[in-house]
């Protein structure tokens, strides 16, 4: 069985580490003290040399992102932590926040020192009330212990919008607007929050920084599958698996080990049918692909992505058309409406998938669905549309026979699918009355 390796969650093996005294007893804030003896540029160099890549899903080298920050602009530089975790299947940032809140704060302070910033915003998803309270309490302790070093950290709560996890939409939302993505360029490193240079990093990414400083970049870079996939991931395991939960493991563990050895396999003596390996927006893998190593290169070779590290296990009771429909309904609900291919395309996808599931579609409709996916892919300002089109196109590619069967003789599950008639918020919201504009 692959051993868990604690980097981000270190010290919390036995349970949440939510008191400052306990976190310090486990070595907490020693990395901050060390970092503050280093030149800022040296801190960024360490992050660069560690091979750390963004844990939100895009996997962009964190140190390089920091090195893009515009210098000598006469404006403040901001650090923004993306704690708007909302990718279906993903619940790792939530676990990090409620188990090691001080490590996130320590990571903020080290990064702030590295990039010369004295104001940090943590944008936390609005639904995460408990996590907000935990971070708030931790922040008060850190403030009381005089560890902030002149840095102000503001906790900003979202209000329910998946799109605000996209970094420019997040900035819009933080500026008090509708969360619609911006055109890039300019990139946030040049003109981000309040048109100032801004670095935006995911919770897990920032919470990894203290360990990099503690171990040193060289040592950290040896974990996992260097050079492209160094380090651990906090994998979120969910769906039809015995032991759902978050598990921190070095990259390079196989999907089979994660599902069967760590996760205890498929419950109720069912067969594995498919795996979504990186959150609902990534292409699906079939049951015979699970010996793939969970690192960026191997996942790309397998035709998918590691994404947010969220693994959704799907057993043989699931109808793949219904799965596609539920995924498309989610993205239709969350499309911000700014770009036509995404706004209209996700709606078309839902309508066509509904007719395929109902047995009223023909071959032309399936071709049209693939055509709609193709017309969304790469044609919008942000990746939300792609996040709908990519997985659905992959379900058709990998489970073509099942889709064909729907066209010819209706759903082969005959009303017994695990996703039968699941009510999505898009359907429920249809009859919302329109509110009155105040006089």
């Amino acid at each position: 069985m692959p051993a868990e390796q604690f980097v981000v969650l270190a010290g919390a093996e036995a349970g949440p580490l939510t008191r400052l005294a306990d976190y310090r007893a486990a070595g907490g804030f020693e990395a901050l003290a060390k970092a503050r003896t280093m030149e800022p540029a040296q801190v960024v160099q360490e992050i660069l040399d560690s091979g750390l890549r963004g844990r939100g899903g895009a996997f962009f080298p964190t140190g390089r992102k920091a090195s893009f920050l515009a210098q000598d602009t006469g404006k403040p530089t901001y650090l923004v932590v993306n704690a708007d975790e909302s990718e279906p299947g993903t619940f790792k940032d939530r676990e990090i926040m409620f188990t090691v809140p001080h490590r996130l704060i320590e990571g903020c302070l080290i990064t702030a020192h590295g990039i010369g910033c004295d104001r940090v915003f943590i944008y936390i998803r609005g639904e995460y009330l408990h996590e907000f309270e935990v971070i708030k309490a931790a922040l008060e302790e850190v403030h009381g212990a005089d560890l902030l070093g002149g840095v102000t950290i503001v906790l900003h709560r979202g209000a329910g919008a998946y799109i605000c996890g996209e970094e420019t939409a997040l900035l819009e939302s933080l500026e008090g607007k509708r969360g619609q993505p911006r055109t890039k360029p300019p990139f946030p490193a040049v003109a981000g929050l309040y048109a100032s240079p801004s670095l935006i990093n995911n919770v897990e990414t920032i919470a990894t920084v203290p360990k990099i400083i503690e171990l040193g970049a060289k040592q950290y870079a040896k974990i996992g599958v260097p050079p492209d996939s160094s380090g651990t991931r906090v994998f979120s395991l969910s769906g039809n698996v015995v032991n759902g939960g978050n598990y921190e493991l070095p990259m390079g563990v196989t999907l089979r080990e994660l599902i069967y050895d760590v996760g205890g396999g498929i419950p109720n003596a069912r067969q594995l049918k498919a795996v979504i390996p990186g959150g609902s927006s990534v292409p699906v893998l079939t049951a015979d692909q699970i010996d793939v190593s969970l690192d960026a290169t191997s996942m790309a070779e397998a035709g998918s992505m590691l994404g947010s590290g969220a693994i959704i296990v799907i057993d043989d009771r699931c109808c793949m058309v219904q799965l596609g429909l539920r995924v498309a309904q989610f993205y239709m609900h969350e499309s911000c409406g700014k770009c036509t291919p995404c706004r209209e395309g996700t709606r078309w996808m839902v309508q066509i998938l509904e007719s395929i599931e109902a047995g009223t579609a023909d071959q032309g409709d399936l071709d049209l669905l693939l055509d709609v996916c193709d017309r969304i892919l790469g044609k919008c300002l942000c990746p939300l549309g792609d996040a709908a089109a990519m997985p659905v196109a992959s379900y058709i590619a990998k489970f073509r026979a099942e889709f064909q069967e729907h066209l010819e003789s209706g759903c082969p599950m005959h009303g017994e699918s695990s996703l039968e008639n699941v009510l999505a918020p898009v359907d429920q919201h249809t009859h919302d009355p329109v509110a009155q504009v105040p006089a």
Partner: protein, 159 residues
């Protein structure tokens, strides 16, 4: 209790630009009024030097703001993939039958609003239900009657 206006000014001071306080101000107003009524929008707009229309344009973008009255209790069932794979629809239907309303509706006594929500972020511990914004995890349909009873009990105590 401080006035809503004062609470909003305190939040406003956290940001270099006052418009950034729009989301927290709307949340404070909603906590005060129970929903974002025309009065709530007017209060937020006045406190932030925005127009009510601007505040409404922002609020209508986000799922957590209520643009119409809701029950005193809010029950939100996640029906995204991970929860749906382990029985979220059965949990939802149990709530519908216990409460006597459909998803998206409020009970006749105005006590409980039931709705489905997109991924709540508790995927490995499904089905996730947020009861008044506190997560209950690993729920199955059998857990629902006790939760409804708990809410009804609070309702009768309060009355």
């Amino acid at each position: 209790m401080n006035s809503l206006h004062d609470e909003i000014q305190a939040v406003r001071a956290l940001y270099p630009v006052s418009r950034s306080a729009t989301l927290p101000a709307l949340r404070l107003a909603q906590e005060r009024y129970g929903w974002l009524s025309p009065e709530a929008f007017r209060d937020v707009a006045e406190a932030l030097d925005e127009t009510p229309a601007y505040c409404m344009a922002v609020a209508s973008f986000y799922d957590m703001y209520h643009l119409k009255p809701v029950g005193r209790h809010l029950v939100e069932v996640c029906t995204n993939i991970s929860c749906a794979l382990v029985g979220a629809q059965q949990v939802l239907e149990a709530f519908e039958s216990e409460l006597g309303v459909r998803a998206g509706e409020t009970t006749e006594d105005g006590e409980v609003t039931l709705r489905t929500v997109e991924c709540a972020g508790g995927c490995g511990w499904g089905t996730v239900v947020a009861v008044n914004h506190r997560y209950r995890e690993r729920l199955s349909a059998g857990d629902v009657p006790a939760i409804v009873q708990e809410l009804r009990g609070e309702a009768s105590n309060a009355g």
